[in-house]
Structures are given as structure tokens and as C-alpha cells.
């Protein structure tokens, strides 16, 4: 069941999607964390962020909207609490990194370089409010490249860059990021959307727009993982609406090396265990020796 992400060998290809699993502690009653491929933590920034006003979530057809706004206590508190707790758990930890500026991203990484127990970073270049001319870093090749370059200089650990789907051509962004030395790509982050309450005439999120996640976006995510994995040579971590082992298989068939499970954790906190077991069964039932044989095995 092992898969390789850059220099990292994972027990299996099932990861947690950032922001949906905290740092794992909240799931300790439901999940054997040691049986995950890796824990990808919630987004961490240099300074504490308050996040957005409530309501922060709304339900949509086969999905949900969120505008949490990357609320987090800052990297120091993260090291003290989350990393310290994770130190006793035998699972690779990939820290999801947020920033308002290139220096912000790099600052988080530099602080974390002083810690053991961090296997790698997932750089989230798809937060909607950063200082690159009001545009997210992830929607422009040059900005995406700049962040990647700066982070690459800051670490030799696994460097994953997480892409946004809200672009005309995700392949261009992926190529730009790969060229700057990213070891792997994560996709997709949430899709921008909104919803309105027809009784009150108010938007359902206080910030009006938010990110859609869940099964509704799976077809978009699959399409992008397929496009990107055909265009780059680094491994791709696929995510977006994975609810079952079959969904995970779908992502691997279109080219993902590993998968991340997000919103599904809210619906069934044990879901990652079901997917780990289900993937093994899927392969076993079909005589597929290595789960990695699924990667890119779609017959087009």
C-alpha cells in the first residue's frame, strides 16, 4: 500500500485534507492516526489569524460552502500545541502553510525548520485575500512561481504546493510551480461559490462568497488532476469530494499518487479508515499488487 511523494515513503496513499482534520487530535476517538498515509494539518500562518465572521458555513447540493478564513493561532502556538501532541504519533506530518505575502509563507517554514517531526509542507497558494494585488497567488503563474521559489530556498523537506481550481488553465500554474522545484502538487482547493437565503434575502455566508467542497466538486477535481498529472512529472495529491474508497480509486486512475480526504471527515469521522481498508480490498479483489499501480491506470 506504500506510495512515494518526493523523498517521502508513505504507508498508504490516504491523507487528510488541510483544514478538515485540525491536527488530528480531534479525530483521535475515531481514527488510528498511525494508519494514515500522512496527516496534513490545518493552515498555519506566522501570526495568529482570527478568521471571518459567522456564519462561516452553508450547505449546498452535495457539498458545503466555507469561509473559515484560515483562523489559526499562529505558528508558535502551533508548534507548542499541535506539533508537540503529534510528536507522540507515528505518522508523517505535512504542515499546511498560509501567508499574506511571500515573506509570510517563508517565515512559517523557517520557524518550522527548527522543529523535528515535520515531514514536509503544503503551501496553500489559494487563499482569497493576500497582498499580491488582491489576486490570490494561485491564480497567476508568476506569483505562484515566486512563492514556490522562496519556499524552496527555505527548506529541503518535502515541498507540496496546493493549487486553486478557480483558474482558466490549471496546467499553466502547475507547470510554473513544478519548474520552481515543488516536489508534489495538491489539488484541488475549494471552488468559489455563494448561496443566498431566500427568506431573509441575505447571503448565507457573512463574507458572501466562500469555497465549495464535497462531492459536488469531484468531477471538477478529477478533471484537473487528470490534466495536471498528464502535464507534470511530479506526483499529484488528488482531492475534492472523496467520500469512499471508490472515489479515491477514481482519483488515482486519473493520475493521483495519493489522495486527501476533506469534507467527508465531517460526515463520517471514521471515513479515512474506511478508505484505507477499502483501497486494500479494491486492489486485493482485482489482483492488483501495488496500490500505486492504480495511478494513471485509466484507459482513455
Amino acid at each position: 500500500m506504500t506510495v512515494k511523494l518526493g523523498g517521502l515513503e508513505l504507508r498508504n496513499p490516504v491523507l487528510t485534507a488541510s483544514g478538515t482534520f485540525a491536527s488530528g487530535r480531534e479525530f483521535a476517538d475515531f481514527v488510528e492516526l498511525e494508519r494514515l498515509g500522512a496527516v496534513v494539518t490545518k493552515g498555519v500562518s506566522l501570526d495568529p489569524w482570527d478568521g471571518n465572521a459567522s456564519p462561516r458555513v452553508a450547505e449546498t447540493a452535495s457539498g458545503m460552502l466555507n469561509s473559515i478564513g484560515l483562523q489559526n493561532p499562529g505558528v508558535d502556538a502551533f508548534c507548542e500545541n499541535d506539533l508537540a501532541w503529534l510528536a507522540d504519533v507515528d505518522v508523517p506530518v505535512i504542515v499546511n502553510v498560509s501567508g499574506h505575502s511571500v515573506a509570510g509563507y517563508v517565515g512559517v517554514i523557517e520557524r518550522l525548520e527548527r522543529e523535528t517531526g515535520v515531514a514536509g509542507y503544503e503551501v496553500n497558494i489559494s487563499c482569497p485575500n493576500v497582498d499580491a494585488g488582491g489576486m490570490a497567488f494561485g491564480t497567476e503563474c508568476s506569483a505562484a512561481a515566486e512563492v514556490t521559489r522562496a519556499c524552496r530556498v527555505a527548506t529541503t523537506r518535502l515541498l507540496v504546493v496546493k493549487l486553486t481550481p478557480n483558474v482558466t488553465d490549471i496546467v499553466q500554474i502547475a507547470r510554473a510551480v513544478e519548474a520552481e522545484g515543488a516536489d508534489a502538487l495538491s489539488l484541488i482547493n475549494t471552488v468559489l461559490g455563494m448561496a443566498v437565503d431566500v427568506e431573509t434575502f441575505r447571503p448565507k455566508l457573512s463574507r458572501v462568497v466562500g469555497g465549495i467542497s464535497g462531492p459536488a466538486i469531484k468531477p471538477i477535481a478529477l478533471r484537473m488532476v487528470w490534466q495536471v498529472s498528464n502535464a507534470v512529472s511530479v506526483p499529484v495529491i488528488g482531492m475534492g469530494g472523496i467520500m469512499s474508497a471508490d472515489d479515491a480509486v477514481e482519483f488515482m486512475l486519473v493520475g493521483a499518487t495519493a489522495v486527501a480526504v476533506g469534507t467527508a471527515n465531517f460526515i463520517d469521522p471514521t471515513v479515512t479508515m474506511r478508505i484505507v481498508d477499502g483501497l486494500a480490498e479494491f486492489c486485493h479483489a482485482r489482483g492488483i499488487e501495488r496500490v500505486s499501480d492504480l495511478t494513471g491506470a485509466m484507459k482513455a
Binding site: T20, D50, R56, A58, M64, Q71
Partner: protein
Amino acid sequence: MRRCMGEESVWRPVNPALERISVVANERLAEGVGLVTLHAPRAAAGVLPGQFVHVRISRGTDFILRRPFSVHRVSGERIEILYQVLGVGTRALAEKVAGEEMDLVGPLGSGWRVCEGTARALLVAGGLGVAPLGMLAEELAGRGVAITVAIGAPREERVLARNLFERVARRVEIATDDGSCGLRGPVTGVCERLLSDGSFDIVYTCGPELMQRKVATRAAAVDIPCQVSLERLMACGIGACLSCVVRTVDGMKRACVDGPVFDAQQVLWDPTETPPEH
């Protein structure tokens, strides 16, 4: 402020789990209000007053999130949930019939805190706010606490769980908006009178947020500790998603794990809501 702040509660929570449950009965109590009895042995054995369960009502993907409901009562291996039909989830819940299976994650949340030495408690419920107070009343009565209950409702038909409270409380006062039962007017009026008349060790309240805020203000005015139970939209219910935050004097708290019950003085009430008149 006197007793029961920051002290340990007499109750200790158990760890939550994912539990398969089945509907034992589902009864319509009034227009848009029902009581569903669920076979949920693990939750029934471990749940504390004020805790909630996170129920997956639909297995399809038409609406995917769980729905949080307070445990209203426990009897044997069963839990009772008092619910109001508001949207797609509660509508689907109202349609469940005996034998149907669902699952829940629970018991969740902090629950009401009860300190050693509590002798007289005032419970103030607005509308569906009776839901998490039912089990509390029974448990307090079991501990010999003298209970007074004030229930507010729009009209007589919607005065819920009256029998339960009358069985265990020393006194039950009712207020309805249209005066069809008890006093005409808001339950906060009744609460104010009770607080100035009697003496209580603690006030527990649940209902619309503005009402809870008013109750808290009245309790603070007579220097009695007050616990409130706040509702927030909840995605995960277990502290991971940060969708349910409550602003408090100690920073952002999560209603699902740090609450839903909070000491009233901890809460920084939503500034966009009109403040209660004093």
C-alpha cells in the same frame, strides 16, 4: 458572582463514537414539532445533560452534513430528541418511521456544569430551548436540587415538555406570546420576576440567542451565575472545522467542544444583534 464558576462539574463526559441507531418512535407534538425516540445504547449510557448528538439523517448526497440535536431525555437504551422542522434535514427527520436506521456521532459537547452544593436552580427555556433542559431537570431533581422552570412559547400548543418539568420541578411558570397559556409576554419577564423574588444558586437557559442574552443580563444584575447553551451552524461537531465559533473573553471558542454550554459572562455577544434593553 458567587458559586460554581470555573469549578469542576459533578459530571464527567465519555468519549464520543460513531454509533448506528434506529428509530423507535417518531411522534408529532405540534405543528412542526416532533419527538423522536432512538435506540442508541452507547449514547444513552454516556450522555450528560446539555450534550448533543450529531445525526446523519440522510445517507444520500442531497444534503451531506450531520445535524446537531440536544439529547432531551434518556430512558434505558433510548434517547429522545425534541425537534423543530426548519429545513431539509429536520423535514427528513420528521418523516422517519420506526425501524429506520441512521447513525450519530456522540455524545458531544460540554454539557451543563453542576457544582457540588447547588441547591436551587432556575431553568429558563424559550421555544425549543426546552430540549437540552429536559435531561438537566431530571438529573438535578435526582440530586435533590430544587428546580424552578420558566417556559416561553408563542402559544399554548407550543409549550413543550410541560409534563416532564411539572413532574420534577418545584414550580413551573409559563409565558406565551398570545397569552393562550400562562402569562402573556416574553419569558424573560417571568425570569426577571423569579430572580428578584427568589434566590437561586444558578440559572440555566436555552432558547433564542437574544432571549438567552437577556436572561444572562438579568442574572448578572442579581449576581447569580448563569449558563447559556448556544446554537451555531456546525459542520464537524467535533472541533475540527471551526465553523461554530463563539467570541468569548478568552478568545474564539468552538460551540461544539468548548460549548454549546458557556458561562454567560464568558460570552461576547454578537454585536450585530440588538442589545437587550435594561
